[in-house]
């Protein structure tokens, strides 16, 4: 890679200036994005599984006034890609069974599949899954750990996570002195 300083400055400036998708208000716009995500055929998950994963990830890291959430960051798409090429069949099976367990739990609690539930009902299911976070026992509780771990990894390594949410200041040319305090 031959990059002059000028090119490098331009490249990093461009990366920072790249328009991030604006925070999406809940409701119509959110639904439109979900529909858009669903239209992109998943590689590993079935379309209903993907829609469920997309919604779950966005409940774990939602859009707020500060920054967009997991859906905008493409968390489900990243997980789907990684699993599609994975050689770990045990792990792949856990995702299928985990997502199924979410619907089973939702059926038990509200008599309907997760995505058929109201926002309050969905929250109740996820809250129950998260209750055993420290010491998971049920299938749904184990799946919550796995789901959250991947959501965290995918979100905070995404463009949205690094720039919009964390507002990371590094990986750009630093003019003059570094930030911080002198030791003496």
């Amino acid at each position: 890679m031959t990059v002059t300083r000028r090119e490098m400055l331009a490249a990093t400036a461009a990366a920072l200036a790249a328009p991030l998708v604006a925070p999406a208000p809940a409701g119509a716009a959110g639904a439109a994005q979900a529909a858009q995500a669903a239209r992109m055929a998943p590689k590993f998950f079935t379309a209903p599984e993907f829609a469920l994963l997309d919604e779950l990830s966005d409940l774990i890291i939602p859009t707020d006034a500060h920054s967009p959430g997991a859906r905008v960051a493409g968390v489900a798409t990243f997980i789907d890609f990684r699993l599609s090429e994975s050689l770990d069949t045990d792990q792949q099976a856990k995702w299928h069974s985990g997502l199924a367990a979410v619907d089973t739990l939702s059926q038990e609690l509200h008599g309907k599949a997760f995505l058929q539930g109201t926002p309050e009902q969905r929250l109740a299911v996820l809250t129950k899954m998260a209750a055993g976070e420290k010491d998971p026992k049920t299938l749904a509780e184990h799946f919550f750990q796995q789901l959250k771990g991947w959501t965290v990894r995918a979100y905070y390594s995404s463009k949205v996570g690094i720039h919009a949410d964390q507002q990371y200041k590094g990986n750009v040319y630093q003019r003059g002195d570094y930030a911080g305090y002198d030791a003496t």
């Binding site: 707020d64 965290v152 905070y156 390594s157 964390q166 200041k169 990986n171 040319y173 630093q174």
Partner: protein, 600 residues
């Protein structure tokens, strides 16, 4: 910017019919320094490197230091089929760890740091490079420059507390040199390669000739101030990184604080951090006196039957599989502490039935390193909710030098340990994994706490003991049919007691600074984890109990030198790379003088 992106042409065809003045086995910190010093003295040097050759453009494409995580399809992970060994695997299994693995490629734990794709061609494939014996996390990098391509950059000097350790506390052996002997060579290494840091005037951690230091975060300043009251020091990371630039080196840029250092298993594609190829080898090639042959795995030091002297090196071309010989008047081993010992043990002949240079029986013994694992994490309350700052735009955070068994005498252990640490914001909020819950509250909590943590991890001296050693496995062979090493190595009671103290002292220091300790780790990591293995061919004045003299010259074979970490008499608790290079400089200067006088 004067950074040169194109190296001098590397020789593809190496003349093996000629006899070189010296052959150097290995191209890391030690081999690179040997090449630098000897070529500067006008000697014709052939360097053999077991691994492949990444030229300056290729290594940049491999490390991709500036790549954003989201621009990598797997966010830095290696493609399917690669596996990095975990602490658990090292703990529950025995070497060879990759034996029977269903993965296509198996790497050491370093691949698992979150960036395995950036080192998959740098670390060895454990499947091709087995070893046996006791549990050991052996990290190896086979390519031009060796482990200097991915090292941690902490560049410290040793002191007479180390060189004269036996005089101080009665344990082990003193080195055959004192600090005054090596000080001028540390100075030369500082000036030639560049080092950043702050002078502290500590007798046990001598200052270098520093370039511009890294700065501290407010939390680190707070701990520094608090430690002063305890008579301890927190100093900015002494990094083997040029922060002001090096006018004499056209291959290296100065550090511009961009901050990729800590989110990868290492590697700096602008070469502000020292690496052997740009720091030492390319400049040596510019002299016209260095010939390089890569993919050349040495398996024997050849001996002249009449004189008993070394006459060259037998090696395998790992591409063609052919066995070849390199002829030289002087043989210099710099293959790493463990590989140099293996090579000496492999070099058995009628004159040297126990391996070359091993009349003492000490080759492979007195093997020592640093013990690590124990550490403390603190939450800096006043940093919660603060806007982000660039805190990982530094080659390292801070270092807390040894404070045990200097003037005091600890009841439970001898020698000491230092802490490496860091704090502040990074590219990835690591605390997210441990923050409970989900939703808007979780997200805000992660954001608010991202820069509020400070962490310390200790590195302690492992005592050199004769009974900790490596030898050759009688049965196991590597991919090229070369017998492998077998480990007989375990931490002892002194290390375990020291590790208990690390946790107590770490907690005490954070609490004294008013920082909440939110986590302690007392788990000792597997032997080998520090990647600071040392001592397998120690120096000394007595040929019965040491392998090398004070110039890293074999007591038995005067034209054989071992200039890497093998020669260290004790491990100290201070990181070894800078000492390896200062010693190699001193020894090679002596070597060149003796060579010119016809004494070798």
């Amino acid at each position: 910017m004067t950074l040169v992106k194109t190296p001098p042409p590397l020789s593809q065809e190496v003349d093996l019919s000629k006899t070189y003045d010296a052959v150097v086995v290995g191209s890391g910190a030690a081999g690179g320094m040997a090449a630098h010093v000897l070529t500067e003295q006008g000697m014709d040097v052939l360097m053999l490197e077991a691994g492949k050759k990444f030229d300056i453009n290729q290594i940049g494409q491999e490390l991709r230091s500036m790549q954003w995580p989201y621009d990598h399809p797997r966010r830095g992970d290696a493609p399917p089929g690669y596996h990095s060994l975990s602490f658990n695997e090292y703990t529950v299994r025995n070497p060879p760890y990759a034996k029977g693995s269903t993965f296509k490629h198996v790497m050491s734990y370093v691949g698992g740091w979150g960036g395995s794709d950036y080192v998959k061609n740098i670390l060895v494939d454990e499947k091709d490079h087995p070893y046996t014996g006791t549990k050991y996390a052996w990290v190896r990098a086979r390519l031009l420059g060796g482990k200097t391509n991915i090292w941690g950059r902490l560049a410290l000097r040793l002191s007479d507390y180390d060189f004269k350790g036996k005089t101080h506390d009665g344990y082990g052996e003193d080195w055959p040199i004192a600090y005054a002997d090596i000080e001028p060579y540390y100075d030369r290494v500082d000036r030639y390669l560049g080092i950043s840091g702050v002078k502290e005037n500590l007798p046990h951690l001598p200052d270098s000739l520093f370039q511009r230091p890294n700065k501290l975060t407010s939390a680190e300043v707070k701990v520094r101030e608090s430690l002063k009251k305890m008579g301890r020091v927190l100093t900015p990371y002494r990094a083997g990184v040029t922060t002001d630039g090096l006018k004499h080196n056209k291959y290296r840029s100065k550090c511009y604080g961009r901050g990729a250092c800590d989110r990868r298993p290492g590697g700096c594609d602008i070469h502000a951090a020292f690496d052997s190829p740009t720091g030492l080898i390319y400049p040596s090639m510019d002299t016209g006196h260095l010939t390089l042959r890569t993919n050349s795995t040495a398996h024997e030091v050849l001996v002249d039957k009449n004189t008993g002297k070394a006459r060259g090196v037998g090696f395998v071309d790992t591409v063609s599989g052919k066995s070849l010989e390199a002829k030289a008047k002087v043989v210099i081993l710099a293959a790493s502490t463990l590989e140099s010992a293996r090579l000496m043990l492999l070099s058995r002949s009628p004159q040297y039935p126990n391996g070359i240079g091993n009349s003492s029986g000490h080759v492979g013994h007195n093997f020592c390193e640093h013990v690590m694992g124990p550490g403390v994490t603190g939450l800096v309350k006043e940093m919660v909710g603060k806007p982000p700052t660039l805190d990982d735009g530094r080659p390292g955070g801070f270092y807390i030098p040894r404070f045990r068994n200097l003037k005091d005498k600890q009841p439970d252990f001898i020698r000491g340990y230092g802490f490496e640490g860091g704090s502040g914001f990074g590219i990835f909020p690591g605390s997210a994994n441990g923050t409970p819950g989900f939703g808007a509250q979780f997200k805000k909590e992660v954001r608010d706490h991202a820069g509020a943590f400070i962490g310390l991890g200790a590195f302690g001296e492992v005592l050199a003991r004769y009974e900790n050693y490596v030898d050759l496995d009688p049965d196991e062979k590597d991919h090229w049919g070369i017998p492998t090493l077998r480990f007989h190595y375990q931490f002892g009671d002194n290390e375990k007691k020291m590790c208990q103290d690390m946790v107590v002292a770490g907690r005490e220091m954070l609490e004294a600074a008013g920082i909440d300790v939110i986590g302690t780790d007392d788990q000792i990591l597997t032997e080998g984890w520090s990647i600071h293995e040392l001592g397998t061919s120690r120096m000394g004045t007595d040929p019965k109990t040491s392998v090398l003299n004070q110039f890293q010259q074999s007591h038995d074979v005067k034209n054989l030198f071992v200039v890497d970490g093998s020669s260290h008499v004790s491990a100290s608790c201070q990181n070894p790379t800078w000492t390896i290079m200062a010693l190699a400089w001193r020894s090679c200067e002596y070597l060149a003088g003796e060579f010119k006088k016809g004494n070798l």
